[in-house]
């Protein structure tokens, strides 16, 4: 009898263990979201009379405190309104959407949202945000502001001709180069409009055989790779949003990159930290936006050391832009208050603070070309704004999550030598097609 009890007990215990493990497995990625930080600008959550608005923001503590300052200004006008900010670090936009849905299903849907371009179509498709056209046209400041945004940025946040977001910051890719290496090799600095062939020749010349210097540093990431096909007239989707991962132009672009990898003109794109390599003079050229400039200057780079030029051209002059915009939730707690809060988020003061944060490029020409805000390093810093005006948005259809993971995987297959470009992109195309059904 006793031993039978013991056996039963052991069985129950084993069962419990198995189940606990399964439970852990299905929540595998929960730890990635545990670093969420929530803060409340007004922690004394009112005596029940005031309205509570919720802001869903993304970024670091810098972005969080910039938004908190904006909320404080809003609270000067509406002291009775409590505004709660949730600021999450974003590595993948699908995580951000996940957080949003969690908030919504637990009855705390955000009213004002800072949304990345990558997630905009997804949010519109799933009816999470509302169009802003009427709000903008009925407001003097917003109408004037809208006129200052780069047209390309507004396009990125529009769906079917309706505007869904007011840009707060943007990002692009230009080609940075190490001046000393060009001088030492007697090569003239590249100029806007230079071609892929010129780029290839220069990069090859500047690569040293002993592996101490590479002509170019390729980073195998979705955004960073994009200018290589926009400048080849290719794109990951067609005008109707259908995937065109294995189009002729795409394959040509990837074959070009594969050639750079095979000839060791670039270090291994999967494992290399190209931005550190550039600042430690191991690379002659690297593509980046504004986000690296602070780090490079901290590492001691000055105007004498580096400059930037537009992306090399094969078929058309282009690059990529991304960014984020403030949007209004579908059913805000209080529409009028939410609109006023949105206006504070895109007020001149908030925009200037965001721009001074140093990571993003401001979304209006006047701010983005203002040396006081953008600094004067490198010499051609205004080239960043030029790049935005000629760029295409980072490809972000409603199925962005699937497209990004599938495509990034395909590029790894190519760079690790497991598949040739055509085969990898064919496979990626059919995987994306089956994922979107």
């Amino acid at each position: 009898m006793k031993s039978r009890m013991k056996k039963l007990f052991a069985l129950a215990l084993a069962g419990t263990m198995v189940f606990s493990m399964a439970a852990c497995s299905s929540g595998g990625s929960s730890d990635s979201s545990s670093s969420d930080s929530s803060s409340s600008s007004d922690s004394s959550s009112s005596g029940g009379e005031g309205t509570t608005l919720r802001v869903l923001n993304w970024g670091s503590t810098v972005e969080e405190s910039i938004a908190n300052d904006a909320i404080a200004r809003f609270n000067e006008e509406y002291p009775d309104v409590t505004v709660e900010q949730t600021c999450v670090p974003v590595t993948e936009w699908s995580d951000f959407i996940q957080k949003w849905i969690t908030m919504t299903t637990s009855g705390e849907a955000p009213d004002v949202i800072n949304l990345g371009l990558e997630a905009a179509q997804m949010a519109v498709e799933n009816d999470l945000i509302q169009p802003l056209d009427d709000i903008v046209s009925g407001d003097e400041y917003l109408t004037q502001l809208k006129g200052e945004f780069a047209e390309s940025l507004l396009t990125g946040f529009s769906v079917d001709g309706k505007l869904y977001g007011l840009p707060s910051g943007t990002q692009t890719m230009v080609m940075y180069f190490n001046k000393h290496m060009f001088d030492d090799a007697g090569i003239a600095y590249p100029e806007d409009g230079w071609t892929w062939d010129e780029f290839y020749d220069i990069a090859k010349q500047l690569t040293k055989d002993d592996g101490s210097v590479y002509g170019y540093g390729l980073a195998s990431a979705f955004f960073q790779l994009t200018p290589w096909w926009t400048s080849n007239g290719a794109y990951l989707t067609d005008d109707d949003g259908n995937p065109t991962v294995n189009s002729e132009g795409m394959v040509e672009s990837v074959e070009f990159l594969k050639k750079l990898v095979d000839e060791k003109i670039t270090p291994d794109p999967i494992s290399s930290d190209v931005y550190t390599m550039f600042s430690s003079s191991q690379l002659a050229m690297v593509g980046a936006g504004r986000w690296q400039l602070d780090a490079w200057q901290d590492a001691g780079l000055t105007n004498d050391d580096f400059d930037c030029v537009q992306w090399p051209v094969n078929k058309e002059e282009s690059s990529v832009y991304g960014g984020s915009a403030w949007c209004l939730g579908k059913n805000p707690t209080n529409q009028d208050l939410a609109v006023d809060l949105l206006k504070e988020m895109v007020s001149e003061e908030t925009m200037k603070a965001t721009a001074a944060g140093g990571q993003q490029i401001p979304p209006t020409e006047s701010l983005a070309t203002d040396p006081e805000i953008m600094g004067t390093t490198p010499d051609n810093i205004s080239g960043l704004w030029t790049a935005i005006t000629i760029s295409k948005p980072v490809c972000a259809p409603t199925y962005f999550g699937d497209l990004q993971t599938t495509f990034t995987r395909a590029m790894e297959e190519v760079f690790s030598g497991a598949q040739d470009p055509q085969a990898a992109l064919d496979a990626a195309q059919s995987q994306v097609e089956s994922a979107i059904g």
């Binding site: 198995v18 189940f19 493990m21 730890d31 996940q98 494992s271 390599m277």
Partner: protein
């Protein structure tokens, strides 16, 4: 005390015992059993995260994962990790435990125990940056030193054949210290008299290890092995921070694929079906371990 009274008291004690067990049972119910049942139900559905609507689709999610090459790759990788990570973690843990048991002076032992245990205390996300720098193909530290010995560059993170090995190295570095600590507790209980007697009878160090230390510490080693096997079946963090599952799918585990299907593609049905697959795998492996343990684990 009369018999009746005793019985009543027993009933009271039983009730108290149940009450004490209740909180953890409620926790188990709410956080484990009900979610598992929910996952089981979802695995037969097409669940729309945005609208909350679900439609019954029968076995189609299971058909999808069984016909998808990616799930099979992830399954193969998971089995690879389960075998090598658990052997690595338990084996290295056992060796370290023997080394820091009582061979060296006490103070030196304590010093090395702390050093070997230290990785278990670090958050992997922080140290992953250092490991990524170590593993870089063209400017990494490991390849630099290998180069000094004339070994050509290894694509630790960029070649499909090496990525799992890089994850294995990180995982063993991270977890072997914990195994060491647990096995060490078992070794401390080994009767030193037995070892001395064996030594007098002419048993060498390896024989003493094989015939005395391992059998006597086998309950602890078994516990550590179970922990490591179940840990390896659920391996996620070590891969996420190092390779992200790549290049391609070469280092992706089942849990990573579940996370991708669930939280990137928002395909909860398929993610749930994959979770059930993993559940069955864990159940089978755990069962085999318990049955197999009869032959080598000695409880006193």
């Amino acid at each position: 005390m009369s018999g009746k009274k005793k019985k009543r008291k027993n009933g009271k004690e039983t009730r108290a015992a149940y009450l004490f067990a209740l909180p953890s049972f409620i926790g188990f119910l709410g956080f484990v059993l009900i979610p598992v049942i929910w996952v089981l139900v979802t695995s037969f559905q097409d669940y729309n995260l945005f609208t909350g609507e679900s439609t019954f689709t029968g076995l189609s999610n299971y058909k999808e994962i069984l016909s998808d090459g990616r799930s099979l790759t992830a399954l193969k990788n998971t089995i690879w990790y389960t075998i090598l990570c658990s052997i690595g973690n338990t084996g290295v843990g056992l060796i370290l435990a023997v080394l820091v048991d009582d061979i060296l002076p006490k103070k030196v032992n304590v010093f090395f125990r702390s050093i070997y245990f230290f990785p278990s205390l670090c958050a992997l996300t922080f140290v992953s940056i250092i490991w990524q720098a170590f593993f870089q193909t063209d400017s990494g530290l490991i390849n630099y030193y290998l180069g000094l010995f004339g070994i050509s560059e290894v694509g630790w993170l960029s070649s499909q054949s090496m990525s799992k090995i890089a994850v294995l190295i990180l995982d063993v570095w991270k977890n072997a210290g914990m195994s060491m600590l647990l096995i060490l507790a078992g070794l401390q209980n080994v009767d030193k008299g037995l070892l001395e007697a064996a030594q007098i009878d002419g048993a060498g160090p390896f024989q003493r290890f094989r015939k005395i230390i391992v059998p006597l510490a086998s309950p602890q080693i078994f516990f550590v092995l179970i922990m490591n096997v179940t840990g390896a079946l659920r391996i996620y963090e070590s891969i996420y921070v190092l390779t992200g599952g790549g290049p391609g799918d070469s280092s992706r585990s089942l849990v990573m694929l579940i996370a991708e299907k669930g939280f990137t593609s928002f395909d909860y049905g398929v993610a749930s079906a994959l979770s059930m697959l993993l559940l069955v795998l864990i159940a089978i492996v755990t069962f085999i371990q318990f049955v197999g343990s009869r032959w080598w684990v000695h409880y006193e």
